[in-house]
């Protein structure tokens, strides 16, 4: 393969954000006619790298070469002009416009006086669609297409330019098996035309079926490239998780209390099905799986944000129905949501008011809120969680991610819950605060809380959990005891690899 000029080559790409080194000298190349997998855990830097390639972020150092020509990507348009095209996981199409209009958006062929040249537009589009062998035409409204076909429109868009490299970001995430076959055919077709393809996916079986080489990122660092034919799942897994990370597991065994929460055959449409598990007081139950595996949806159901379609929830042995967050809070279930800025915090409000938000109604003296009662709650949990904030008056939006998260945790602890659910406890939080929050969660279990931790980061679930539930596609695949689990078995369970279902 060395006689080929790479379609795309990256050299020493570095990108830092305040407090995080998101990419640390990433170099690899994609040959024309090659499908090149890019793998790594969530947060390993894949999406940052793609944003650098797409001109959305400017790298702090490093170079991008297109066919060995050094190229600067100053914006998405420039990326496109240089033949780098993206098929995003989240589609960005205008649903009210036709397929043709979407494909040529921004560069519709024109006639005199700026009129659209519809004839040319439709004939060009149909020519491209023919190559893709799809069952719709240029005039179809995008909103009427299935997700899979909408994806085809995105792909068609990539074909309008002389694409050198096409990047597929989790393309099969929302496709059925039949649709996947069509997609793979299209990728084969692109390959035959000599386009370099970067294929980002977590799904091992696809990677091994589709790709020629695999490059692995871990914690923003490039870990190497392997020929797909010469490696196996174990080796890739090893490269992805590495062992440099500290996962000194909390071996300290705590005396477990009675079962605080038991869930039996809980389903919510196809989001998750037949979930059965229990948490005891003094225990941390970890939920591990890929994004979209149904973990967050289970948490939201327990917190009354979703209505289960079947199944039963027991709190302290008693069957309960949870109809709303208000209801959940009253029954002693608290949820630290996945996205603290969107779902957890009122960013413009100060630290104290955020912390007391769910219970401020009980902190009154006469018609007015009692300042003293609020401050004493804030002080108590500030000390207990060692929250670092200049004062209670500081707007929560001005705190660091770690301290923001502690405010949310403090908010729910001050409600004295029976069951505390924490979804992605350390997302977007720097390494130092991460371990602090991990210790905090362990500490809570030791104090007798029943804690459920949902995480997409393996070191995290391994570190904080007593037991781990692995989910794949809305189903609980297996339950592991933290002392007996291996990383391989965990990875396999969440990738849906056969023979692991319990």
């Amino acid at each position: 393969m060395t006689d080929h000029t790479p379609a795309l080559r990256l050299e020493g790409i570095v990108k830092t954000f305040p407090g995080v080194r998101a990419l640390d000298g990433v170099s690899f190349s994609v040959l024309p006619g090659e499908v090149h997998a890019l793998m790594g855990e969530n947060g390993a830097g894949k999406s940052t790298l793609m944003k650098v390639l797409g001109g959305i972020y400017q790298p702090d150092a490093g170079k991008i070469f297109i066919e060995e020509r050094e190229t600067e990507m100053r914006g998405p348009l420039e990326a496109k002009a240089n033949g780098v095209m993206f098929i995003h996981q989240e589609l960005s199409l205008a649903e009210e416009l036709s397929v043709a209009e979407n494909i040529y958006l921004g560069e519709l062929p024109r006639k005199s006086f700026g009129r659209v040249d519809w004839a040319t537009l439709y004939s060009r589009t149909d020519a491209i669609l023919e190559k893709l062998k799809v069952g719709f035409n240029a005039r179809t409204l995008v909103g009427d297409l299935s997700i899979a076909n909408q994806q085809m429109v995105e792909i068609a868009r990539a074909l309008t330019v002389d694409a050198k490299a096409v990047i597929f970001d989790e393309p099969t995430a929302s496709l059925t098996d039949a649709e996947k076959v069509v997609l793979f055919d299209v990728i084969e077709g692109l390959k035959a035309q000599g386009v370099g393809i970067i294929y980002i996916s977590h799904r091992m079986e696809e990677i091994f079926k589709m790709t020629d080489r695999i490059s692995v990122l871990r914690d923003g660092e490039y870990r190497g490239t392997l020929n797909t034919a010469e490696t196996n799942e174990d080796e890739i897994t090893q490269m992805m998780i590495g062992r440099s990370l500290d996962i000194s597991r909390n071996v300290e065994q705590v005396e477990l209390g009675p079962v605080a929460l038991r869930v039996e055959n809980l389903s919510c449409g196809h989001l998750f099905e037949d979930a059965t598990f229990e948490v005891r007081e003094g225990e941390v139950l970890g939920f591990y799986g890929l994004v979209g595996a149904g973990r967050t949806e289970i948490a939201e159901t327990l917190f009354g944000l979703r209505k289960p379609t079947s199944g039963q929830i027991y709190l302290k042995g008693e069957a309960v129905k949870i109809t709303s967050p208000i209801d959940a809070i009253a029954k002693g279930i608290s949820l630290v949501p996945e996205s603290r800025k969107e779902q957890g915090l009122v960013l413009g409000m100060n630290c104290r008011d955020n912390m007391t938000l769910p219970q401020v109604g009980d902190l009154t003296a006469g018609p007015f809120v009692s300042d003293g009662a609020e401050i004493s709650i804030y002080d108590q949990y500030r000390d207990r969680l060692s929250i670092k904030s200049p004062s209670w008056k500081t707007a929560v939006g001005n705190l660091s991610g770690g301290n923001q998260q502690k405010i949310v945790i403090g908010k729910w602890l001050s409600m004295q819950p029976e069951v505390l659910i924490v979804d992605e406890p350390t997302r977007g939080i720097d390494v130092g605060s991460k371990s602090e929050i991990h210790n905090l969660l362990r500490g809570l279990a030791k104090q007798g809380y029943a804690v459920i931790v949902i995480s997409s980061e393996m070191p995290e679930v391994l570190h904080v959990s007593d037991r781990i539930v692995a989910m794949y596609h809305g189903r609980i695949m297996r339950e592991f005891c933290a002392t007996e689990v291996t990383e391989d078995s965990l990875i396999q369970a969440i990738s849906g690899i056969e023979g692991t279902a319990a």
Binding site: F17, I326, E342, L345, G348, V360
Partner: protein, 333 residues
């Protein structure tokens, strides 16, 4: 931290600085350029200003609450007119006439009740349908104005009762009833927004509705309460004004909603909700009224006044945006 306090001071103080600048400017312009022979900053003039600001001011206070909450109410002008009609017309009803002056408080109650009910209708529709408040109250604005015209056609509704007029023109320390009502409303609603649970929740819902739901706040009923409040205040504004004037035209109160929103926004309340203050709105109301009076004082006509206010409104929002952008530049990873 120093920086943050300073920024807040600039933002909250800006409207008052603007007021002071106006006072000085109109005084100086009037005297030195001999555009007017009377003094501008004279006590009677200022007391009158407060009375003249009252009708829109009272509504603007309610609008502040609704806007902090993340909603808007465009129907207040029509509510104002309808409440005024109910009050004056009810005084003409036979059983009310038979009661003599004792009918006055009853007429006020009818008016306030009308306002609260109209607000309740808006609130319940916003809550139960999930349609944007802008659309719901735009419809209500047209609908309620329709009711106004159905009541008495194109004719004015009037009832002159001297006891009521005396009440409206009674004064304490030179402040007449409408001004006093305005000040009382400012105080009460300010306390509500800064010191009570309801006020706290209003900010939380406006800033981040999802987080508020997750914190177990009953968002729907909360929103309804605020719509009832603004309907009530629009009616209170009508009570304060029409008790003195004794006559309602079916076109009265038109554009009140826009003037109220202008005052609220000038006073620093965010259109998207979550931030704002009652005191800021008070400043906004006074600033607008001052501008009108001041420009009149130096001989400008109404059209000019509107042009100037419009320009200033946009300039203020532009400055606010610039101030805010500095803090919001951090990157989302």
């Amino acid at each position: 931290m120093q920086n943050e306090t300073l920024k807040r001071l600039i933002k909250n103080g800006a409207i008052w600085a603007f007021i002071v600048i106006q006072l000085v400017f109109f005084e100086v312009a009037g005297r030195w350029w001999s555009l007017s022979d009377s003094a501008f900053m004279d006590l009677d003039n200022m007391l009158l200003l407060l009375k003249q600001s009252a009708p829109i001011g009272i509504i603007a206070i309610g609008m502040t609450v609704v806007m902090i909450n993340g909603n808007i109410d465009l129907s207040v002008g029509a509510t104002y007119a309808l409440a005024g009609i109910v009050m004056l017309d009810s005084m003409n009803w036979p059983f009310m006439e038979a009661m003599g002056d004792a009918a006055i408080p009853l007429a006020w109650l009818f008016a306030l009740f009308t306002g609260a009910i109209l607000g309740l209708i808006n609130g319940v529709i916003v809550w139960k349908t999930g349609v944007d408040a802008f659309i719901v109250t735009l419809g209500a604005m047209l609908g309620y104005r329709g009711l106004v015209f159905m009541y008495n056609g194109e004719n004015p509704t009037y009832h002159l009762n001297w006891t009521m007029v005396d009440f409206a023109e009674a004064d304490i320390l030179g402040l007449q009833t409408p001004a006093l009502v305005f000040i009382a409303v400012v105080l009460i609603v300010w306390l509500m927004m800064t010191r009570t649970v309801h006020g706290r929740n209003a900010y939380a819902i406006g800033d981040n509705r999802e987080a508020a739901v997750n914190a177990g706040i009953r968002v729907g009923p909360h929103i309804v309460v605020n719509f009832v409040l603004i309907g009530f205040l629009a009616a209170l504004s009508a009570v304060a004004f029409y008790s003195g004037s004794g006559s309602v035209n079916p076109n009265d109160g038109m554009l009140f909603e826009l003037w109220a929103i202008t005052a609220v926004v000038l006073g620093g309340t965010k259109l998207a909700g979550g931030r704002g203050s009652i005191i800021g709105t008070l400043g906004g109301v006074i600033a607008i009224q001052l501008l009108r009076k001041g420009l009149g004082h130096i001989g400008a006509d109404t059209e000019t006044v509107n042009l100037v206010i419009g320009t200033i409104l946009i300039a203020v929002l532009f400055l606010d945006r610039q101030l805010n952008r500095k803090g919001a530049e951090e990157l989302k990873v």
